[in-house]
Symmetry: C2
Subunit: 291 residues, 2 copies
Amino acid sequence: MSSPIRRVAIVGGTHGNEWTGVYLVKQFQQFPKMIARSSFETITILANPKAIAANCRYLDRDLNRSFASEDLANPNLQGYEDQRAKEIAAQLRGVDVILDLHSTTSNMGLTILPSTPDAFNLRLSAYLSQQHLDVRVALGMDCTQDAPMLRSRAQSGCTIEVGAVAQGVLNAHFLQQTEQLVYTILDYLEALNQGKSLTVPSSLTLYQAIAVVDYPRDATGNLAGCIHPQLQFKDYEPLHPNDPMFLSFTGETIPYQGESTVFPIFINEAAYYEKGIAMILTEMRQVECPD
Amino acid sequence: MSSPIRRVAIVGGTHGNEWTGVYLVKQFQQFPKMIARSSFETITILANPKAIAANCRYLDRDLNRSFASEDLANPNLQGYEDQRAKEIAAQLRGVDVILDLHSTTSNMGLTILPSTPDAFNLRLSAYLSQQHLDVRVALGMDCTQDAPMLRSRAQSGCTIEVGAVAQGVLNAHFLQQTEQLVYTILDYLEALNQGKSLTVPSSLTLYQAIAVVDYPRDATGNLAGCIHPQLQFKDYEPLHPNDPMFLSFTGETIPYQGESTVFPIFINEAAYYEKGIAMILTEMRQVECPD
């Protein structure tokens, strides 16, 4: 991005039971100086107020899967999240960078999920990996500007996922870590705008999603097993062929049957049972960071 | 209890988003031999099917606070959980021992909460503490036979709480631990009925609830802080006067202002925010185990 950043949006409560983002955005709204920078405007959005009030992920539909352009243009979609997506998309018009604050029951520490793998986002990700040693960068399978996630409404920015955090709780550690990460990003954007020199590593480690794995299920679709105890909380650790993956309810170990080593993430994320996702397999890649 | 045990009830899904008990009871219903013992009948109850289907704690009212005798006798209480409580109370008539399987987002490991502190329950608790070294025994503030918890519908038995587990996920470790604990209890009851000699320790460590602590809140009742990072996941560890307890959203540490050392449990339990409970303070007591 050669043109200056004019407007940044910090979004929380896209999922109403992920409190880290909800409470950070409320704090930023109460103390706007914390996120004010001289060279751009910062706006805040509490994305799903009804889900926040009900302490659930969503009412009618996952808001963070409701931003595909064709859905936004479809006047027949009138559920609560359909309407919120249209309102939020309008608010995000003219926004250059989106930071969407989430949490996960998976043990993903501090994860950056860039909206697209373009040069701007890769450099930002590399910078954050250097500044916060426990930041990891993961690229979803659907990282285009027409993906259905909220973050896709701007060219630049990312989702921030922190965990393991249970839904409907505040964890001070992750609240502080996310807050610091937001400030680091805002300071980076400010320095960019001001033409200050920033030390960005020449490459970064990227976890590229390559496949989704569902739980073992019986003929009627009910769960027939769970994450193997040896894999629970082992996000980002190597999973080798034949390593234990699931434990069936009848006590059998179900191994990973792929042929190459992968690095699972979103292992046992509570909200993904209904999506048929027990984990997402990634490949670890060393990526050059463009100037 | 000098008379034999005739009937034992294993209950899961009293809270619909605590999956450990839900899936164990489903397994026991599929493989009833696992919980069959020769000297008594074992029944299973999935307590809150609509909450299980909706993956929430309850629909209208917390089922595990709906068993007070006056509520059960009140024909005007017609919410879903009011009705379920009446149906379950009828099923539990003639049941000698109740095991109610729960999970918690607090780091409580394997916790036994006896229905009453009578000789039978204390001996059972002491036996379990000996058999499973990581079992702890906690006594709530409301442990009478007319308490509103489901477990109060029989003289003997306990709630089993395991965690930290997020709501709406299966954790294999705690699933296995709870299952083993249930078998140990059933075997103990069988041995009692059969007059076999059981080695029960002469005393046990009991964590007696003495006070409930709410989160810091602002004038309108909204959260003004969260559990201090140094206290998060420190259930059953000593909390001394002036130790950090909460962290306010403006960054101040709020210390524990009591005068004696306590042992907090249910720290940051997701379901307790709405109840105004940030943690429950207990005293550690060494209790003689009656013969």
